[in-house]
Subunit: 538 residues, 2 copies
């Protein structure tokens, strides 16, 4: 069995404490920022006191071996880890719990649940780690359905096969990041895909949501690692072929990558894996001007060097996260390889940084553990630790929101300034106080970056959802207006559907609805996500 | 106006002569191989004598400005450049000519033609350069349609916009390779996509068929260069967003990449372009054992070095093409960059070659024009010249066929041996004589190669089609049996549909048929290609 996440936040259920250093860091920073000496802090609510409606269907005898309506399991599967989810958790309000949770052990179990759901007019929610930050797993499905069955895939967690010659592995969709890597490590391999949710999210979730790994350029998207898939739909199981690359018609895998469970449930995939890196070089480069640093990133990304790390964070991001107080913007630059030394690559990238006014201490490259020390080391830790932030901020009335987009370089500077302005203003409108706002790049492509904003403002218990929505909407509207995407890698879920509908051509939506009707004729799969609900138009 | 291809083969219509050196090379080689001193050679048939049925519809007055039923245009648009097409050309048999050719000048023209076609129950064939080698443009549409209208896109041939910051260009779909590059060159850019048909094929054709460029690894597929698309379908025009990379639902571009005109007509695209390379290193490495050379290719492709060239050709391929008589297998290895010297990359790749018994003359790296000389230079020329081969071989009763697949490394050696055996045997069965057979790699991925076979056997006029089919079927059946793809980069067309149907999961075919019905409810777009014809099941 894989270890489970605690029901009210981040970390394993047998280590439920929030890291105390993170709590004191945040209280100190935001106490100073907002001028608050004592936050109005809610306690962690006990799971037994969670208010749930009664289950609306009863489990057929033949499915009782793996299906349950247990109170605690329904709570655990009622929400994800979005801002709205955390507000629900701390108010112990679960308005949309599933009626049943099915811990499927095989594809046959899934088929039986889908048959049952079809007959019972129940919506089906696929659930891996449940770490969606966009409302992907909360069963808000509307009145059209008589019940909700959540299918938990985490019993399907094995690496079934490793092909050492082609460097691929067949992996079940319910494997969590650490468990999956633990199975590959003895053979010297890694999937080398590290989304921020790595610890508690699953392969199937990554594929369904087109997750981005933490590497900054080239092969980092889960899309690029998928060689083939198996998907159970209400009308049958679909298996695609293992193919290194081909041009035989539209790529079937791409239909399920990003469908977020709206067409079926991914059960396993052949994934491209890699030898573990043995050569590394990394460094922090400091810039006085954020947009000048971004320009260095652009030139490096267009030079064909493909660094494994190429992330710029602004000075406020560095301050909030206790990475640096130098009031400089920091570019984390790194190269790694399982095959060859990477100095030639690093030298050229640093030349480009110097050309753009970047400052760095070259001697750090001679220190083998430099990536674990100073600003670099701190950022490395914080990358995973920020997943704890919402369990610290939300009960203290601090709204911690994020949003990110994908935009071409030509439009980035203007969008950047606009989003900074609009977000700052909307935080004041929503809460009456100035908020903290920072920007970093999460990915970089030759034709544009994926900028990511974090905002913190001091709201009021009872109004947090509306306050967050006001800020989120203001910024995301700008993404769409400037030609960007509603999301880059955190998925659509239910929180981003408004903007997905605005960014997507109606003709393509029509095509997608027809696919939905073909594979899922009763529209039971994760309703409200990805496919616009308009059955009549299909 | 762009220059046109000659109606009966390769090269521009104002330079119709086949390069004489190629003719004498082939007559010498195959004269010796087959023991023939005088080939039974058909003459080039005059276009005026082509037998065509009468046009079955008449052009409405309002469309006469750009639509025609001219005899010569109907001949030019009746076939592509597949083996079967060449047999038709040299027998002056055009069984399936379009009734009308529409030289569209705008999207509005396309919309009007699609409206007319819908009312007239006419099938519509999209036609760019017409260089399909798989029957993608010959209007074999069955008796269900009352007529055929071919839409020629080559008047839509402009680079409309260049975004220097993001390094992208908005390009019309009907631009031929050379014309497109000529428009980008003054600004220092290149699309850097060179399929073998480059001279006479168009951007729209490349996108519709998921074309592969001549670079051997990393960004070479047209898929990777597409940032956004416009597609005119019978139910409206679809435009996707310019996005460097995003995870917002299934990628809309991927639905049209590979649809081969079965869903609509691509009219323009934002394409990722690149600075022209200024640093180059290339070399030929010789191997005594083909599979050992392939193993070196595998290790290089898994090392993260990303050479621009990594193509191994076997000794017979070297002989047939007058590249080398050394009876060695040759790996062409090259690196290039617009940004930095590439020695470090080349040095490591050569270490790997040496580890696998590869032999090479390192001094060649110090010669700046080495890629234009000796084996390398000869291969560079032949890569484009082979497009002339069929106009030499077909009239001489030599069947020149090719087939390629995509296969994982673990299955490649066995598939390779099997295809070599089966193809040699089937050539003897079909023609009673031993044929020439060779293999090379066209692309290489970390998880597998795309091997490409060329075969030549001496057939008989009047039986060439059946003889070719016998060999082609034997080999392609093996691709499917071993888990490979029906094609890697030459597209599906009508020639490969049997095998596409066998490689595709039925559930995905069902999804695709539903998309077809949503976007093209009368099923008029390129019928018989990509989407299995089974309307009732949609």
């Amino acid at each position: 069995m894989q270890k489970r996440i605690k029901y009210w936040g981040w970390g394993y259920e047998d280590e439920p404490e929030t890291p105390p250093q993170l709590i004191s860091n945040m209280e100190r920073y935001f106490g100073g920022f907002f001028g608050v000496s004592d936050f109005n802090t809610l306690p962690v609510p006990p799971i037994s006191a969670a208010r749930l409606r009664k289950p609306r269907i009863s489990i057929p005898e033949r499915l009782k071996a793996f299906c349950t309506s247990d109170h605690d399991e329904r709570v655990r599967h009622a929400v994800g880890r979005s801002f709205l989810d955390y507000v629900n958790i701390f108010s112990n309000e679960y308005s949309n719990p599933p009626d049943v949770v099915a811990f499927v052990r095989s594809e046959q179990d899934i088929i039986e649940v889908l048959d049952w759901a079809t007959g019972a007019n129940a919506a089906v929610i696929p659930f891996g780690g449940g770490t969606s930050v966009t409302g992907g797993v909360e069963p808000i499905v509307g009145e059209e359905y008589d019940a909700v069955i959540t299918i938990d895939t985490t019993r399907l967690n094995k690496v079934l096969e490793v092909d050492d010659v082609s460097q691929c592995a067949r992996i079940q969709a319910g494997a969590f990041g650490p468990h999956l890597e633990a199975q590959l490590r003895p053979r010297g391999y890694s999937l080398r895909h590290y989304p921020q949710s790595f610890q508690h999210s699953t392969l199937g979730g990554w594929i369904a949501t087109r997750s981005g790994g933490h590497f900054a350029t080239q092969y980092t998207h889960i899309d690029d690692f998928v060689e083939s898939l198996r998907v159970v739909t209400p009308t049958g199981t679909i298996e695609t072929r293992r193919m290194p690359g081909d041009g035989a018609g539209p790529d079937p895998d791409r239909l399920f990558l990003g469908a977020e469970g709206s067409l079926g449930i991914i059960t396993e995939a052949w994934m491209r894996i890699q030898k573990r890196a043995t050569h590394r070089a990394s460094i922090a480069v400091f810039f006085g001007d954020f947009l000048k640093g971004c320009e260095a990133v652009r030139v490096i990304s267009q030079a064909g060097l493909f660094p494994s790390n190429l992330r710029i964070i602004d000075a406020e991001e560095a301050r909030v996260n206790y990475v640096s107080n130098k009031n400089k913007h920091i570019l984390f630059l790194g190269f790694e390889s399982a095959d060859h030394p990477v100095q030639a690559w690093m030298n050229r990238a640093l030349e480009i940084c110097a050309d753009h006014g970047g400052e760095f201490d070259r001697e750090i490259l001679d220190q083998p553990n430099s990536h674990r020390e100073s600003e670099q080391g701190r950022w490395r830790d914080i990358f995973l630790e920020t997943s704890y932030y919402r369990e610290i901020t939300t009960p203290r009335e601090i709204i911690y929101g994020t949003m990110e987009t994908s935009i071409t370089w030509d439009r980035f500077p203007e969008l950047y300034r606009r989003v900074m302005d609009v977000t700052a203003q909307s935080m004041e409108e929503a809460t009456g106080k100035r908020g903290s706002l920072s920007c970093r790049f999460v990915y970089t492509y030759p034709d544009g970056p994926a900028p990511y904003w974090s905002f913190y403002c001091l709201g009021n218990h009872g109004k947090l959802k509306e306050q967050w929505k006001h800020v989120k909407k203001a910024a995301t509207d700008e993404f769409i207006a400037y030609g960007g995407s509603a999301t880059h890698h955190t998925s659509i879920g239910r929180d981003h559907m408004t903007w997905l509908n605005r960014q997507t051509d109606r003709g393509f939506s029509r095509a997608l609805r027809s696919v939905k009707s073909a594979l899922d004729p009763k529209w039971i799969m994760n309703p409200g996500v990805i496919v616009p609900v308009d059955k009549s138009a299909a």
